[in-house]
């Protein structure tokens, strides 16, 4: 479906989520095993650690039609690789401010800590993010037009 078309029809925000394998992804699985329900707008990419998320991925997601991005890792101090989440924190903060400076609402990029035991928190994270991004409206700034 063309990106442009999707935007004009009833606007359902498209969120791309980068989840760290040990905590956030396991938290998402737990939300599943607990049969919680949350909006289907989020598409998950599993990475070994939130420290693997390159700011370029966030930019690529917006280019390719995402309206919001979630990066979720382990709580500070619980990272499976010691401090991957602390590195993600600096990268996401600097990126959020750069995007903010050129006019992308900072709430479109969300960094959160979800442990493997927080299925409910994961579901809430998705709900609040979808609602927030829906309020911001579709990402109009620089999505790639269909070739």
């Amino acid at each position: 479906m063309l990106i442009g078309d999707r935007k004009q029809q009833s606007y359902e925000p498209r969120i791309v989520a980068f989840l760290c394998n040990w905590c956030a992804y396991a938290g998402a699985d737990l939300a599943g095993t607990q049969r919680l329900s949350y909006p289907p707008n989020v598409r998950v990419i599993r990475l070994m650690c939130s420290g693997r998320v390159d700011p370029g991925f966030i930019i690529e997601a917006f280019l390719e039609g995402a309206d919001g991005v979630i990066v979720a890792g382990c709580h500070p101090g619980e990272c499976h690789y010691e401090h991957g989440n602390r590195l993600a924190e600096r990268r996401m903060t600097t990126l959020q401010h750069l995007l903010g400076f050129i006019g992308i609402e900072q709430a479109r990029v969300r960094l959160a800590w979800v442990s493997a035991a927080e299925g409910r928190k994961f579901a809430q994270l998705i709900e609040t993010t979808v609602e927030e991004v829906r309020a911001l409206g579709p990402f109009q700034q620089f999505p790639r037009r269909a070739p």
């Binding site: 590195l87 996401m92 600097t94 750069l98 400076f101 006019g103 960094l111 959160a112 800590w113």
Partner: protein, 331 residues
């Protein structure tokens, strides 16, 4: 217009003593910009000038692919002002070059470098390469027929000189005072940055409207990337095919991705020297983004790039007290 005697002899001695194989400096050109030139022999040194009009981008020629293809130019002496030594520190801390490859001729008491665009905007009638000196808070332009103009320093100097924190070189192997100690008055550096503050004051829609009109004009000629002394990758991801981060088509989305990725690769490294903005043939205000990120990184993490030749990279380390992003979101 050539170099002062003391400096001229010192540079020639460097050749004689075999301490350097080449000297990188600026020579006057027809227009008021000056051109980087590499002196390979002592004789060529006399073509150099210290005029504040001739302050082209020298450091890019230390880390460029050209430099890597011509190792015989090292060890190389470079005439470097305070801000340029800060960039050198950053290059050394990233092992772009080894400290022993560069003989740093520190130009101390730097009164500032003149921005050719601002000069020609103020003095359109200017032709050729006049003699210019900076005295205190004034720039004096002289022709053979005497004084052509006397203009305010802050109006003419480069953006980085208006916020200059390093009038003295941070590192040097030899120090030369541009202004005699006696009549050296520390120029006024302003903190506020009207350009950045103006955008900070805007709401997101206005900000995007502004940046949209700018980024649409980008012609993707890579001048900003090629002018940056810190952009010395073998195969820059902005040009790479597999994987392709930025597509070749020149339109708003790809131009925005190009600039965002370029800026994110310089966060914590960029010393806000403004060469990218100066090089841009369509005058995109790239300096705004670089200075915004440099302020942010100093304010949030107390990080100033280029102060310590063996400093840590901002995004390679962390501080337990970093809680800016998540704390804001967690409340």
């Amino acid at each position: 217009m050539s170099l002062p005697q003391v400096l001229d002899r010192h540079l020639r001695d460097l050749f004689g003593s075999g301490r350097v194989n080449s000297v990188l400096g600026a020579i006057p050109t027809r227009g008021p910009l000056g051109m980087a030139q590499l002196a390979r022999t002592p004789e060529e040194v006399e073509r150099f000038t210290l005029s504040p009009l001739a302050c082209p981008n020298l450091l890019v020629h230390l880390t460029s692919k050209e430099a890597r293809l011509d190792p015989t130019r090292f060890p190389l002496a470079v005439l470097a002002r305070g801000c340029e030594t800060r960039m050198l520190n950053q290059i050394f801390s990233e092992h772009g070059l080894r400290r022993d490859q560069v003989y740093v001729v520190g130009l101390a008491h730097c009164p500032g470098a003149i921005d050719p665009r601002r000069l020609s905007a103020q003095l359109p009638v200017l032709r050729g390469f006049p003699e210019a000196t900076i005295e205190g808070e004034e720039v004096v332009i002289r022709e053979e027929s005497g004084e052509l103009a006397r203009l305010a320093r802050t109006e003419l100097v480069l953006e980085r000189c208006r916020h200059c924190q390093n009038h003295e070189p941070l590192i040097d192997d030899y120090r030369f005072d541009l202004v005699e100690e006696a009549d050296w008055i520390e120029p006024v550096s302003v903190d506020e940055d009207p350009g950045v503050e103006a955008i900070d004051a805007m709401i997101p829609i206005e900000r995007w409207a502004y940046w949209r009109s700018q980024l649409e004009r980008c012609i993707r000629c890579h001048a900003c990337r090629d002018a940056c002394p810190l952009c010395y990758c073998e195969n820059c991801i902005l040009e790479r095919h597999t994987p392709c981060w930025v597509k070749r088509s020149v339109n708003l989305p790809e131009n925005t991705a190009y600039q965002l990725l370029r800026v994110m690769h310089l966060v914590g490294r960029c010393t806000a020297c403004g060469e990218c903005e100066r090089a841009c043939p369509v005058d995109l205000p790239l300096g705004l983004m670089m200075r915004k990120m440099e302020n942010l990184v100093r304010e949030y993490y107390g990080h100033r790039s280029g102060l310590d030749p063996s400093g840590e990279h901002l995004l390679s380390i962390f501080d337990p007290r970093d809680t800016t992003a998540t704390a804001r979101l967690e409340q």
